[in-house]
Symmetry: D2
């Protein structure tokens, strides 16, 4: 993952699109992410993946808050298949990738992974649906998003 830098001060971060369609976002593991088994709590990887999808949208130029306030549409995860292969520990510098795997009228499909260096820790197929911000009923994908993809 040479596209992500994380300097020794632990601060500098840079996200880029890999060639061509894979986006990568760095995540540092803090105590809040771990459980009494000494490793990252299994459901917390889903939050890491959502952080990366949010940053992927931002990098594309989409503004989730504006879409929600304007078109009254937001996104909801409707299906995930997740494989946990190896455990991340406190202080690990992880990378979360996002690859758009398909677009329907009302849903987006993603392939995502959480890596430590080149080592794949967790993989997931994710399906996200556009829903009405008020009643959470299915909606077509917001035009602002479709135009960006």
């Amino acid at each position: 993952m040479t596209s992500v830098s994380d300097d020794s001060r632990g601060g500098a971060r840079r996200a880029t699109f890999r060639d061509p369609p894979r986006f990568a976002w760095p995540v540092r593991v803090y105590w809040e992410d771990t459980d009494g088994g000494g490793v990252v709590y299994h459901s917390q990887y889903l939050a890491f993946m959502e952080r990366a999808r949010s940053e992927w949208l931002r990098a594309l130029g989409a503004d989730q808050s504006a879409i929600r306030d304007g078109e009254r549409v937001q996104f909801a995860v409707v299906e995930m298949n997740v494989r946990w292969r190896r455990a991340a520990r406190y202080d690990d510098a992880l990378t979360v990738t996002v690859e758009l795997a398909g677009t329907g009228g009302a849903t987006l499909g993603f392939r995502q992974a959480v890596l430590r260096g080149e080592e794949v820790l967790v993989e997931a197929d994710v399906r996200v649906a556009a829903v009405d911000a008020d009643g959470l009923r299915p909606r077509r994908l917001p035009r602002a998003i479709v135009e960006l993809l």
Copy 2:
């Protein structure tokens, strides 16, 4: 804490008011609550305390959702002084107490504790304010609450 029962099947739960004004609510520690140090993550006790305040309100007969939808008022924690004395571990059966310590025009004060048996693990003084559900500006306490107290 004889007022709280938790049978060996881990299921049965009963909450009561102690004499005179102390309410107690049982909380079981799950993996999601612990961190890599093997103990409950420090901020999670604040969530345990809010669970107990929610159940205290319910036991009084107040309905937070109805108040929010009706009067457009909700509650926000505005100040806490928290002392962590001992650590809870996975699987511990805890008790969280709620004692109303003062009422202002727009705020409620509480004394709360998290116990394991008779042992005090965490203590806190909590101040909660009524706020506008839309803009989060301070509001007077909802009448429904004032009448119950």
Copy 3:
């Protein structure tokens, strides 16, 4: 889900095995579980499901802490397929079910659901593996567990 009672005081809880092999555990939704979309955050259902698996083990008579300290074996989720169908909201009284769907030498398969009354909100197929508590390498299922199943 008549096997789970939750009285109007919000306190009493009882868990039972349904005929034949389905276990049910009640979960109340608190603020900590919700997100800014007004509904339970998607990954939090995975924590609810783990609470139910922990209580299922306890109801069988297994003691996770003792197994971990004694045999140095713990459990790790290795695969989940999750379908989120409807959203739970603040204050909802949910039921989480656990059904053992298969046993391997080193893994357990479960079918789980999160319900609100009779309405299915989330469904999942879950595979859990026994791992070494120190190095997290795969291990055979602890004998104490195999004998109980």
Copy 4:
């Protein structure tokens, strides 16, 4: 907070010490941090503050994992006084500051704040103690830390 940059791609991050002793760390608000009130859940600010203390230690040159494995010492929060003044929302770019406010034989005192631009959202006084990684009993501060301060 000119010492923290966060470019428009949402990615680049840089942390610095302000003159003289105030360290600042950027935090982005994701869905996982918010609650059904539409704002960051109150206890989550405590996790944000711990992220910043972890990064402050790293910036000083301390390695918490090495100290834990080597000297068998870790840190535990023992007291916090927290004032929540304004609410952060989804997508806000926050800054968390860390200022060392005192050192005892076994404890460190901090003044911390969470800001959105120049606006102070949350303030806290924090006391952290060195504890034995095995039994969580109080210990003297690790030499590696004392030498750095």
